[in-house]
């Protein structure tokens, strides 16, 4: 016995109007067909454009024609990106904070935590004010910088910005990207640990975001970015960077090298022992970085789709292999594998796979894992000693070297088999000249980071100095910069 049999045709009319209103149809607007609505839902599954089925032969959408799938976030994709944003924040607080915090002497542990917290707050404010807009806007019509149309997150609502995603709320996307903007400068503090003034550091980061990060992120990920090979058909450099090998690791790593050379070595470097005060905290931080990195890498698909799934797998494989390989290298080099070796290897694997993760397959991840376990290891244990710079926590050795290596290997290993988006604009060059494009992107990133950092560092040095007073450095930054002690017992 159906409703129709019992109550007649009237409920059917009521129900039809009810369904039509759910479909977002105005009484006078054209109604979408069932086909178009189903196609819109299927677009949700495949991370496609839900308005595509509404277009006519010329590619235009009739006035007022829409479905309930258009202009709204897809729950699965949105949930994954919200989770990913939380995971990437977790990478900074407390992942990186503990990873770096455990590696410094106990009198400086709070300085690392404070710098991570300070950078988080500062970048949040900058991102809200103009940062998001400068990276992901297009108001300037420029391949180098976005625009100001999203200043103060004006217009950034729960509806997707279809320049970047069909199914993720723009506010979620903005917050997700903000976490990248936070962790990038936070990586730099590793190289200059234990001898930079808190105030100088925050001032440096503030300037660095405008001069290096915002332009670089726009060039690589902005819809009209100069180096956005995947999505910008008019990109001058047709490079690819899935989750930030250039934007995050190269920029922070090379900037860190320059800054640590301008800053100078720690007092007593080379003479006094400065071993990590807590390898326990360091390892805990490493685990948190690895777990959080799933948000960093798989979340960069900006969807919970097959690309994200592939990135999840490649991230896992590369990291596990790299951790093991670094430990093996240590075993053959000095006879013992160390916890620091395992941790460094894992982080190196994560760094190197970052630009490649959504573009390579399982075999590619193994290759990256092996390379990541060996090349950064070589720089940290040999090159650093040869040149004698005090890269305290090996930011250059792991992030600069790893990011550069990863960007290069992405050119070698990328395949459209795992990511059809590579066929949009890059079909002719993947597997052929992509490596050359990657090298151009590497060069531009290097120049921007090095020149930008040099200028900012010298300006701040002349204005207020970068280093704390000798006595303050001796006493420890926790007391001198924060009047706090990390451990009281």
């Amino acid at each position: 016995m159906t409703i129709q049999n019992v109550l007649g045709w009237r409920p059917l009319v009521v129900l039809s109007v009810f369904w039509m209103s759910l479909a977002g149809v105005r009484a006078d607007a054209p109604a979408p067909t069932l086909e178009q609505r189903v196609a819109g839902l299927e677009a949700y599954l495949g991370n496609g454009d839900p308005s595509a089925p509404l277009k006519d032969e010329k590619g235009n959408i009739p006035e007022g024609l829409t479905t309930a799938s258009v202009g709204v976030a897809g729950p699965g994709h949105n949930a994954w990106l919200m989770t990913s944003a939380a995971l990437v924040l977790f990478m900074t607080l407390p992942g990186l904070a503990l990873f770096y915090g455990g590696l410094v002497r106990s009198k400086n542990v709070l300085s690392i935590l404070a710098q991570c917290l300070g950078i988080t707050g500062l970048v949040t404010i900058l991102w809200w004010a103009v940062g998001y807009s400068l990276v992901f806007g297009k108001g300037f019509n420029s391949p180098i910088l976005g625009g100001l149309e999203f200043s103060f997150l004006k217009g950034v609502t729960s509806a997707p910005n279809t320049d970047y995603a069909y199914w993720v709320s723009q506010n979620v996307f903005s917050m997700y990207q903000m976490m990248f903007a936070i962790i990038t400068p936070a990586l730099i503090i590793g190289a200059i640990a234990e001898r930079i003034k808190f105030s100088a550091l925050l001032l440096f980061v503030g300037a660095w975001m405008f001069i290096v990060y915002f332009p670089l992120a726009h060039m690589v990920w902005g819809v009209n970015g100069l180096m956005n090979g995947v999505w910008n058909a008019g990109a001058a450099i047709k490079a690819v960077d899935f989750a930030g090998g250039t934007v995050v690791h190269m920029s922070s790593g090379w900037s860190a090298l320059i800054l640590c050379m301008i800053l100078g070595k720690r007092l007593g470097f080379g003479k006094e022992p400065m071993p990590p005060h807590s390898m326990v905290l360091c390892m805990v931080g490493t685990g948190m970085l690895w777990v959080g990195w799933y948000g960093f890498n798989a979340g960069s698909a900006v969807a919970a789709d097959g690309v994200a799934a592939n990135a999840f797998m490649t991230t896992t494989l590369a990291t596990g292999v790299a951790a093991f390989v670094w430990a093996v290298a240590e075993y053959f080099d000095k006879g013992k594998a160390s916890v620091l070796g395992f941790c460094s290897g894992a982080v190196a694997g994560l760094v190197v796979v970052t630009p490649a993760t959504g573009f390579i397959d399982a075999s590619g991840s193994i290759i990256i894992g092996v390379a990541a376990g060996l090349v950064p290891w070589f720089f940290c244990t040999r090159v650093k000693r040869w040149f004698g710079y005090d890269d305290a926590l090996d930011t250059f050795g792991v992030h600069a070297v790893g990011g550069t290596l990863g960007a290069f290997l992405t050119g070698v290993l990328a395949t459209a088999d795992v990511n059809a988006n590579l066929n949009l604009n890059l079909k002719e060059i993947v597997g052929k000249t992509l490596v050359a494009e990657q090298c151009k992107a590497i060069a531009l990133t290097l120049v921007l980071s090095i020149v930008g950092t040099t200028v900012i560092a010298f300006v701040i040095k002349s204005l207020m100095g970068l280093r704390p007073a000798t006595e303050s450095e001796r006493e420890g930054l926790d007391v001198s910069d924060h009047e706090e002690k990390g451990y009281i017992y």
């Binding site: 071993p275 990590p276 000095k334 160390s338 040999r382 000693r385 090996d394 050795g397």
Partner: protein, 114 residues
């Protein structure tokens, strides 16, 4: 009866044995501190990501015991028997004179305060 102080530096894992041995030798009280030090025993090397550190100072335990001069030889023998491993770094015993000892609760002085 003259009072003496024994300061003994021993390997940390020997503390329980030495404490038992002293108890059997009639020594009731002691103060123990964790210290770092070296004599002729070399330290060891630790390597953190390519940076080598020679750790000179090794963890030790210092015992401080106040006793009357007649008991010093027996106590020292007990410490040596319990703390010796035969390997370098076993430690040292120092005997010092003490001017006065006072029990705070009763204000007893001298040998009665031990």
């Amino acid at each position: 009866m003259a009072l003496k102080k024994i300061e003994a530096i021993i390997k940390p894992f020997k503390l329980e044995e030495v404490k038992e041995a002293l108890h059997e030798a009639g020594v009731e009280g002691m103060t123990v501190t964790e210290v770092k030090g070296f004599g002729r025993q070399k330290g060891h090397t630790e390597i953190y990501r390519g940076s080598e550190y020679t750790v000179d100072f090794l963890p030790k335990v210092k015992l401080e015991i106040i006793l009357d001069s007649a008991s010093v030889e027996k106590a020292s023998a007990a410490i040596i028997k319990a703390a010796k491993t035969g390997k370098i770094g076993d430690g040292k015993i120092f005997v010092l004179p003490v001017d006065e000892a006072i029990r705070i609760r009763t204000e007893d002085k001298g040998a009665k305060a031990i």
